[in-house]
Symmetry: C2
Subunit: 241 residues, 2 copies
């Protein structure tokens, strides 16, 4: 299987399936598609169509990462990729085994999938940076950013209480891969979270998939201007390397 992803430093959607597969030992190769090339679209589509060759692509893809190619068959969108992997590798129990826990896991992933727009726009994932000043300022100025963070803290606290940790449903699951980019934002922007959420942040940071992704993100050195306003303006942009 090949997983098409964006830059590791920035692409939070790419991070989710990559971390899930790495953490659970699913074999795959990743293919990086630089942000500006899939925005331009044509280069990405050419790369992809070369990769899938004459495979059964019954539907043109939306031209976005992440995108999983399994022996020529294309699955796109993070949540659909997660469901596909859960079906293909039932022995890995990527979703919780209990039906109600599984439904709850899908509820919180779907909520992440379509929501938290303030969190995503005010605190874009940027693994190599350390931006506590921007974090503090955004939390002070933006009520929607505070509300999103409060919802994350409430949700994680409830789940850790219900299932006993160290991960949100006890054992590692798709949900922890889904929230890994939120953990990276909490770290980059030094967002204040109480225990047991801070313990969970530490557990995700120490998990094998996230450690591997972070290491490769820091080695990437491939910065995108439009995502790096602090590099130009000089605000609080210490490197995390």
């Amino acid at each position: 299987m090949q997983l098409y992803i964006g830059n590791k430093n920035y692409s939070s959607w790419s991070m989710r399936p990559w971390v899930l597969m790495k953490q659970t030992g699913i074999a795959f190769a990743d293919v990086m598609v630089r942000f500006d090339s899939f925005q331009a679209d044509s280069k990405f589509k050419a790369t992809l169509s070369q990769a899938v060759g004459s495979g059964p692509m019954t539907v043109a893809t939306p031209g976005k990462v992440p995108l999983l190619v399994d022996n020529g068959f294309v699955v796109w969108d993070t949540l659909a990729i997660a469901e596909y992997l859960a079906e293909k590798f039932p022995e890995l129990h990527l979703w919780p085994a209990d039906m109600q826990a599984r439904a709850r896991a899908r509820s919180v992933c779907a909520e992440m999938h379509s929501g938290f727009s303030a969190l995503r726009s005010h605190f874009p994932m940027n693994i190599e940076a350390h931006l506590p000043d921007i974090g503090a300022r955004m939390l002070a100025e933006k009520a929607d950013a505070r509300a999103d963070l409060a919802r994350i803290v409430q949700m994680w606290t409830d789940l850790l209480g219900a299932h006993g940790g160290p991960f949100l449903f006890g054992h590692y699951s798709t949900v922890d891969a889904y929230f890994a980019p939120v953990v990276k934002r909490i770290v980059t922007y030094a967002l204040p979270v109480p225990p047991p959420v801070s313990d969970y942040v530490a557990a995700v940071e120490a998990s094998a998939g996230v450690v591997a992704w972070t290491k490769q993100a820091l080695a990437e050195h491939d910065f995108i201007d439009f995502d790096e306003p602090y590099r130009k303006s000089g605000v609080s942009g210490e490197s995390g390397e």
Copy 2:
């Protein structure tokens, strides 16, 4: 089971699980939560907490519709509700039976779940209205609206070609419920679509779940000012009743 929904005329997310359950014969009662009351939040939360009583709510809900309560257990977010129903009623085959078709179905639902923001903002669902002038103007003025509509047409054309219609994966599935609000927008704003997409629009319009929802939406007469600019400005707001 109880399904909490917003106004039937406007709430495209509520429409999806409602139509799916009605079409496939799953028994449920709906509970309407008026848009302004769940925006204010407290009334909705009070209604909900009364409904679920002392059920196993291990996680506070996000306070949004749609939301399914099954014997006190709460499932939220449209995609998670669809997965829960598919697991609870395997005999209904709410997802396509073939694994690759099922993966493709989840890809297009997840793409709808997180994307098409131009379609959603420029053509808000408004079942009782007939707004061809607004439709034509938005398509002329907004490149992102044209791109979203083109993607819908491409995706549906490919799927109808691959599976032979009349629904996107041949037989009726969750996917058709997922795109039902897009069909309603195409009708309300008279968006131009070629065959076989126009045939698919007609098939969804004639499906039992959509017919029932539409009838109740037209009987609702409970209009929300902020979603009805044309009622104030006098532009092209013929009623569809």
